[in-house]
Symmetry: C2
């Protein structure tokens, strides 16, 4: 606690805050919001925190763990309350999933990180608790509810992860466009099914597709028994 260094160095710049896991994650979130997750690198973080990259490894094991921590922080923004007027578990669950999807849609690289490094923070557990609670009101078996949770979260996460639009500038939107072009360019003789389904393959707004996916999963989950389940 006793100052060993010259007080002058203290006045030169604002007091450098002590490094901590919390402060590192806070900074990573700030950089991600301003410039995207890809800029929240160990080196950049160290620079921002006025230290060397090696120092960060005292508080986080590696980049994957850091990104998992950032994800959990973001999951705190998911709205878990249903509207009070809404009594139906299905619509409350839909609202939670829409909120979760919306949060991930703002940061697709984070959705991709979520597919690799499974989260396990407190906000993730809160989300899991809420989804299980709502889904169990369907009357489906415990096994169906438990396995169904994974499918719901996986579907939303994968949909957000696919939503590339790297810099959402229209110059580099070639990705989905290339697939659409390939589907259109297909020969009707060699690919009759693609030709027959052509308008529908690329139809639908994102909200419509997300709504339909949710309905598909809920219907499937509540009607498909888990193999070997005892109840």
């Amino acid at each position: 606690m006793t100052a060993r260094k010259e007080p002058i160095s203290r006045r030169d710049r604002p007091a450098k805050p002590a490094l901590s896991r919390r402060w590192i994650v806070d900074t990573a979130v700030r950089i991600m919001r301003a410039e995207g997750l890809e800029k929240a690198t160990m080196r950049r973080l160290a620079q921002e925190l006025d230290t060397g990259p090696a120092s960060l490894y005292v508080y986080v094991a590696n980049t994957a763990e850091l990104h998992a921590a950032v994800l959990d922080r973001l999951l705190g923004e998911v709205d878990l309350t249903g509207r009070d007027s809404e009594q139906d578990w299905r619509e409350q669950l839909r609202a939670v999933m829409v909120s979760y999807t919306r949060v991930l849609f703002e940061h697709p690289p984070l959705a991709r990180a979520a597919l690799v490094a499974r989260p396990s923070g407190e906000n993730y557990l809160r989300l899991v608790e809420r989804v299980l609670d709502l889904l169990s009101r369907s009357g489906a078996s415990r096994e169906q509810v438990a396995w169904g949770l994974d499918k719901l979260l996986q579907d939303a996460t994968a949909t957000a992860a696919e939503h590339a639009t790297q810099g959402h500038d229209p110059t580099s939107e070639d990705d989905w466009d290339a697939t659409v072009r390939a589907l259109h360019a297909v020969d009707a003789t060699t690919h009759p099914a693609i030709t027959a389904h052509m308008p529908a393959l690329i139809s639908g707004t994102m909200p419509d597709r997300i709504r339909w996916s949710f309905d598909v999963l809920i219907y499937g989950i509540t009607h498909t028994p888990v193999p070997g389940a005892t109840d």
Copy 2:
């Protein structure tokens, strides 16, 4: 065609094959099989092809496009034929999806790449054609079949992408383990639903979960009409 250089340099090493997109992708596939997709970098590829990295950009636009090409090459291994004895479209489709999943499971980084850079190569189109053909035999509407295709491929791709096991050495399996530990450590008072569903949340073998997911999706897809569909 006329030799301008000393013949001696020709004898020093085997003739350097002419660069081509095909040869680049072949080499990337070879490196991926031997050491994983993460080693199939532009620089490593250039080294392997005895040139500088800049030369590759004459044939591939960037790393994402290269990985998409590698994925399409791998998709050539997906078994699209159902067994002859099997007449049921559902079981034939299941076999195709299991084969697709199996191919991606051998290279999870490729599954992750597939979620980002949508493929559009010939083997991808062959797979799409086959899945649409089989799924349309369910009698579901064109819209349900078209949107259902996306869900089936997305589910299998995301499941493979999640299957991290980076170097499949047991020392770094902390990832899913951490989630399991977090679920177990949860307080029964604050997280009653997690506690109630606990055994089921982590139960099930991968084949059982994959089989159930397929059944959930097929049931949901064939029973959920697409909003605003005309047929």
